[in-house]
Subunit: 388 residues, 2 copies
């Protein structure tokens, strides 16, 4: 078994680009990653590509070979779909395939075109990540689902809209100078509380925006990196994936996310570390409450204590447990299929000291990425470490 | 590295079941596979699930965790999509994950609900497997695309509609007693030639039907099979995947399918065998011309010679090179996401002597499965062998 290194990364700005196709976005990200890695396109043995709603937003399935063509890569290509964790599962399979010697050089990425659908259209398209028969037909959508989870959390552990508002404020502050980010502006707790409600207790500023964008990276084996003198100081050292029942009504708790707990336990065991070894994390904050559930599921906090961490500022850039220094989905944006790989890219640059917010974690050597699908019915977690 | 065994299989009848949901179909197939394998559900570590058009046909994405729930499996689950090769890519990843020791027991399967869309609706839905911007908007659909490939083949190598008709007749004959098959009736060359044209030179009987159905199997490591005394005499010993440009206009040839040639070369090398070692094959005959291209791409015939093989009856049940003894997609049916795993299941039962057509290949020890996506922009090939 070999180690798995990040040889290069590419990332579009996340934002509203309704005139850009998914292929146009992925061309930019994949070009960037391949150029950054300094590998020849002919060396790339596979493309693992995450996309969620291409069938709905662009009438385009079978995006594996399409995006390989766009990237100029003549190789086997597969599209992975696990709702908002689509490129997270692509990363996981890429890590397994590289470390097991199936391949030495792979391109992993994702893209999503969403804003062409408009906000209502995109919200409807996102709903196919929930249970169509038993949730969507009954009127559920994702703001509604996460509102149920927030209310269940408040009921079980306490907490308030204002507590959650601190998460939105923090993530906007983190995104201010992140070139990838869609929402580069400061907001206040008052702004969040005064925003229009979308599903009580969540308001508009508790939700991530609808976004277009793409991300890509080249992963290589240790041996390949060494043999080719690549600058690849960051390794993905642990991978985990968990699953849960689709419909909220079928779950035992709404205030916990066992799929994410399973994924993080597996990733920690795989990397041979524990939660206390992690210096910095990017977690899946599609809604503010999702960040609370995430930081508990990855073992940063006990169940019920994540909300106090937000309230007390422990997860801010200068807190003890910085979370979402990129701005998270909340402020960086969430072009669904691009998010999982984007999170890995943010952690990689935080660990190498090249991120705009690296100053907040000057000694960071271990990072974690938590990427969740739907109402956390699927989750991948990856552990990353500085190895050079 | 361990060997990968088929411990159990499950398969619905393929046909027109517009009232059955994808989850209902997969429940039947997965139940069958798990019961046949004789493993406890708690032993299953992953579900790898192929589905192509769930977003369009059922407004349902994120089918990994949904289908895990349906199968009663509490484990990580991922949906793979590569058009008509969707469960082929799931098989490939499952094989890699088992043989590399990532997991010991996995459920692999696929399902598709299509006939609820009607023939025109399903044909439109299938078109998302081609290039939306540069093919579909110009009026292309899959009958049209394969008609172009057939005409290119005829122009380059010769051949006629009547030659292709023999393939349809053969595959219908093979399906007659296959309980899985949608079209269990004999047809004649005249029937094929007199059928309404759908895209010249192809007529209605050159095309596979629109189908609903599901398939599933349990794969285990050699060690697990031995430790648990499982009856698992068939191993998947080679895997390959190839890719090509999406749009036909971007390809050098229309009369060859290099993605399939690449996939079969890789699978043969992986298994340490050659085309001449293969006793029986299931190939992706979504149209009659597709079977010709397939049997050439897997090395059964040189380019340009596959059409004569069909004409001369070499690929019939009592020919030298029996192909699609199940009836193929043409007569068994083609519920897209179920097809790749269904093909593996057919070969497994042919090799164990339990298939209705096993008598045609009494000494068969090596089988091959060819599963193609779109206009063969993606392909997986697997080699299977009797090991006990």
């Amino acid at each position: 078994m070999t180690g798995v290194r990040i040889a290069g990364t590419g990332h579009t700005h996340f934002g509203q680009f309704p005139e850009r196709t998914g292929r146009d976005l992925f061309a930019e990200a994949s070009d960037g990653a391949i150029e950054d890695a300094g590998v020849e396109r002919g060396e790339i043995e596979e493309l693992l590509y995450g996309n969620f709603m291409g069938e709905v937003a662009e009438d385009q399935g079978h995006q594996g070979p399409l995006m390989a063509e766009v990237a100029g890569v003549n190789a086997a290509a597969t599209r992975y779909e696990s709702a908002c964790a689509s490129s997270g599962v692509a990363v996981r399979e890429a890590v397994r395939n590289v470390r097991n010697g199936e391949v030495d050089v792979v391109l992993v990425g994702g893209a999503e075109r969403m804003t062409n659908l408009g906000t209502a259209g995109a919200t409807k398209a996102l709903s196919i990540a929930a249970d169509e028969l038993f949730e969507i037909r009954a009127g559920m959508n994702f703001p509604g689902a996460y509102a149920l989870m927030a209310n269940a959390y408040f009921e079980e552990y306490g907490g308030s809209r204002e507590d959650l508002a601190h998460i939105a404020v923090k993530n906007h502050a983190n995104a201010l100078e992140n070139d990838h980010a869609q929402l580069q502006r400061e907001i206040t707790v008052e702004d969040v509380l005064e925003a229009p409600p979308i599903a009580e207790p969540l308001g508009l500023y508790d939700a991530c925006p609808i976004s277009d964008g793409a991300s890509a990276m080249v992963l290589v084996s240790d041996e390949y990196a060494e043999a080719n003198g690549l600058d690849a100081p960051i390794a993905i050292t642990g991978t985990g994936q968990g699953g849960d029942r689709m419909a909220l009504a079928d779950r035992e708790y709404l205030a916990r996310t066992p799929a994410a707990a399973d994924a993080s336990s597996e990733a920690y065991a795989d990397a041979g570390i524990g939660a206390d070894d992690v210096d910095v994390a990017e977690v899946h904050d599609c809604f503010t409450i999702a960040e609370v559930l995430a930081i508990e599921s990855i073992g940063f906090y006990e169940p019920g204590e994540g909300i106090a961490a937000a309230r007390n500022g422990e997860t801010t850039a200068d807190g003890d447990r910085p979370v979402n220094l990129s701005g998270g989905l909340k402020a960086k944006g969430h072009p669904v299929g691009a998010t999982g790989v984007s999170q890995v890219i943010e952690i990689a640059s935080l660990l190498t000291g090249e991120h705009i917010n690296s100053d907040a974690v000057p000694d960071a050597e271990v990072g974690l990425v938590h990427n969740a699908g739907g109402t956390v019915a699927s989750t991948t977690v990856h552990v990353m470490e500085v190895v050079e």
